[in-house]
């Protein structure tokens, strides 16, 4: 579709000349999110500064039946903001106001473009924080977090984005602005819950009222070192079976450890087959006893060593190593692809075995990073795109791992979303009637299909042709 000059001038009238991005060079940065290097730039990008502007822009596009795709910070990893059939991208990067802090009710009202970590920074001086902490939290924005229902290492105890939302302000695909609000057990359907994680297909999030939490009185972080992934997986089950719910329970295997050690020099033992990072928080009373029990559970499953972060600096470095593990992978490989499967936590040893088998059969190195406590695996498939046929093998191996997750009673995505990446697996994950119901849900919000078309649920058009882009990683 070609956008005419009249539309351009109308858009400029709404958002100002600097709020419309066009031209090949300027659009390059909007070609992909963390998933893709595909050459799929939108025809133009519109950057509203207010909800009113966003509404005007979308009304204008709706009147002309022009499809659009919302975009936050572009840190998504499933191609959710790949333009596809949408000519226009609407970015929220200029909507960065923290509108209101209401600490008496532990609420912050922030605009969509506010970076996740900025919410915590705004309130940490008074002992509060915003709990969802995706690895990209220093770049990803609240609007994107709502769209993707983002998780992070601490979801095990504190839940994902949807568990921390009170209300969201959205612009529907018609351009209408509406607050979806669950304050005070608002009667009616849980539209906050429905919209969260809808990957930008039901409308544009412009602001959110998020729940703030009090920093726990005490935190302690353990590093348990194992000979291999199998032992570490069993230790996860042992911890859960002991009735302990850590704040975070993360696993890294030898390949990941070697990459992060090279990058951040934490001091991981070079011969470790796997490590668990286990964070416990809560009251100071009892925390030492809990750490002791966790340590015993790990030793019982074969841990060779349990270290406890000596101070806040060591703890911070440990988390930096974990959260930036994706970035460190570049030291091992020219390219990698991240998967995001989930299995019931007791099936972790089995999925780990499947990953190892797939790795050897496809002759691809696969590094294992996981939110082990949630059963959420992130196998990183390492490859070199310059080798002929390797990308295809990577995609086939990834699909096979996700299908194995389904076979074990799991899911094809724990936190990265379907986007375009996993659209082809939705039919394996859900029956036709459930998929039809999901299409109905989308149509209730997005009847003309103008908002982020051809994502999440396969459309009536059947198997849509998305050129499978070259995968990268993140999350």
């Amino acid at each position: 579709m070609s956008l005419d000059s009249k539309l351009l001038s109308e858009l400029r009238a709404i958002v100002g000349a600097d709020g419309v991005v066009e031209g090949r060079a300027s659009l390059k940065v909007y070609e992909c999110d963390g998933y893709t290097l595909a050459k799929a730039a939108p025809e133009l990008v519109v950057l509203p500064q207010t909800t009113g502007q966003a509404s005007e822009v979308i009304k204008l596009l709706a009147a002309r039946r022009i499809a659009f795709v919302p975009r936050g910070a572009g840190t998504g990893v499933s191609g959710g903001c790949l333009p596809g059939d949408a000519a226009v991208m609407i970015g929220t990067s200029r909507m960065r106001a923290i509108r209101h802090l209401d600490l008496a009710n532990r609420v912050a009202e922030v605009e969509a473009g506010v970076v996740n970590i900025e919410v915590t920074r705004a309130v940490e001086g008074r002992g509060f924080y915003y709990a969802p902490d995706p690895s990209s939290q220093s770049a990803c924005t609240i609007g994107g977090n709502v769209a993707e229902n983002s998780g992070g290492p601490h979801t095990l105890k504190y839940g994902v984005t949807v568990n921390h939302l009170i209300a969201i302000e959205v612009v529907l695909p018609s351009g209408e602005v509406v607050w979806l609000d669950r304050c005070g057990d608002a009667p009616g359907y849980d539209l906050v819950g429905v919209f969260t994680g809808s990957e930008g297909t039901l409308g544009l999030v412009t602001a959110a009222r998020v729940r703030l939490m009090r920093r726990p009185e005490a935190v302690t972080t353990l590093l348990a070192i194992f000979p291999g992934v199998a032992e570490a997986s069993r230790a996860v089950s042992a911890i859960i079976a002991a009735g302990i719910v850590p704040a975070a329970l993360e696993m890294m295997d030898a390949l990941v450890i070697s990459a992060v050690e090279a990058a951040y020099h934490f001091g991981f033992p070079s011969d470790a087959g796997a490590v668990l990072i286990i964070e416990l928080d809560g009251l100071a009373a009892g925390l030492d006893g809990l750490a002791e029990r966790v340590g015993q559970a790990c030793v019982g499953e074969g841990a060779s060593e349990i270290r406890r972060a000596a101070d806040e600096a060591e703890r911070a470095l440990l988390w930096k190593s974990r959260k930036r593990a994706f970035g460190a992978m570049g030291r091992l490989t020219p390219n990698y692809c991240t998967q995001d499967g989930v299995v019931p936590r007791s099936r972790l040893p089995e999925i780990v075995a499947v990953v190892a088998e797939v790795s050897s059969r496809y002759q691809l190195r696969i590094a294992n990073l996981m939110h082990a406590g949630d059963g959420n695996i992130h196998p990183l498939i390492l490859y070199d795109e310059s080798r002929p046929g390797e990308v295809e093998r990577v995609l086939a191996a990834g699909d096979e791992i996700l299908r194995a997750c389904l076979d074990l009673g799991g899911s094809i995505s724990g936190e990265h979303g379907i986007g375009v990446e996993k659209l082809g697996l939705m039919g394996a994950a859900f029956g036709p009637e459930t998929l039809a119901a999901m299409a109905d849900l989308r149509a209730a919000f997005n009847p003309l299909g103008l908002c982020n078309p051809n994502k999440v649920v396969p459309t009536d058009r059947g198997c849509i042709e998305v050129v499978r882009p070259r995968p990268r990683g993140g999350g």
């Binding site: 008496a104 532990r106 304050c183 005070g184 539209l191 009735g243 936590r345 009673g409 029956g431 009637e433």
Partner: protein, 443 residues
Amino acid sequence: MTTTPTRASEPIDTTVFASLGPGQLRPGREVDALSGRVPQIVITAREVEQVRAAVTEARSKKLGVIVSGGGTLLHVGNAPRTFDIKLATTALGRIVEQNPEDMTVCCEAGVTLARLQRSLAKLGQRLCIDAAAEEKATIGGIVATNATGGLRYGFGTPRDLVLGMNVIDGCGRTLGAGGRVVKNVAGYDLVRLLTGSWGTLAVVTDVTLRTHPLPAAAATLVFDFASASDLDAARGRVFGANLPLAALDLAVDLSVDPASDAQSSAGGSVPIWSLIARVEGSEEEVAAQGDRLCALCGRDPADALEAWASPAGAEDSAGAAVRIGTEPADLIPALVDILAQVRQGSVRPGAKSKAVSLFVGGHLGNGIARLQLGNAAGGAALLRATEVGGRVRTRVIERVPAGDFSGHDVWGPLPASFALMRELKRRFDPDSVLAPGRFVGGL
């Protein structure tokens, strides 16, 4: 006021339900009536396929179906537009799968909360849902109504704890929403759409829920205050502290006796405002939280009362009951206003005023309170005083005298997003078969 026009339905040909076994089909009776409407038949489903058959038949004949679990909240809702089939899910009673290592459980809709808790307890686990009437309330009903108790403060509502469910929607489709894992963003979140949809979109047949380990130790501490403002100050300190409480509740028993009030407060009863905190964890954690709570509430630990169950006022079908929602910090001031209005409203100059018995229970940390009258007196005043506006953000009428909700605004003003809700209803239940007219705005 919501008026609910009735829809005439044709008589049901029960031969289509020939597959139902003995005791699964009977004519409706007075006892099944909702707002005075008696269903033509009552079906007790034992198999999912029977649920589907009932919904499909209802759809083809444009009949109204109301699903019933334990019946603890069945009376709540607008008068139904049509009520032809009462569909009981109580015989869907299997606990399908308990996975303590995964901290999940799957059971059919008719399993009662108490039964599930007993079964989980044997494995050292529990469901962190403490909805009322646990011996009667079913998991299906709890999920359909998003029913909660005090543990919502520490663990969230069923919307946060349901991982997946199988349902039959109003089109007769079998939907598998969510899954069996604790983290799942595949596709749209049908689980959240359906949880708390009060049986208007689909019939829940089984549910997978997140479980938690049973705490090693627990205690419920009660702090009594002589005034609402003292309680509110303590609430602010407790709410603002970094204590991982399992529950932060409220109870106040207020008997408004206009006669004694008119004389002097010394003669009248002085209400006691109670802050109720549930602490859980290891012995050490429970003791430490108890000490901190005592300090925050200005009490000597030796004087803190300990209770093992939240107090509940007497339920009386003659009295009205409402549930209100506010911002957490607004709850006590809102209640003070409401009580003043009820007091004023129940004094009728020149007439003999009756004593009003009012019990308030609530979730201080969540801004939720339930106000219930112990007898018929004061109903009109309570309904007037709790109308949505100002600090009162939401109000649901849960009980009216004689149980007839006709002419009552059960759910309060339409939410801003009502048009979307209507669209969802239209697509999941196009012929308005399920609980027709009973929910918000007559959905």
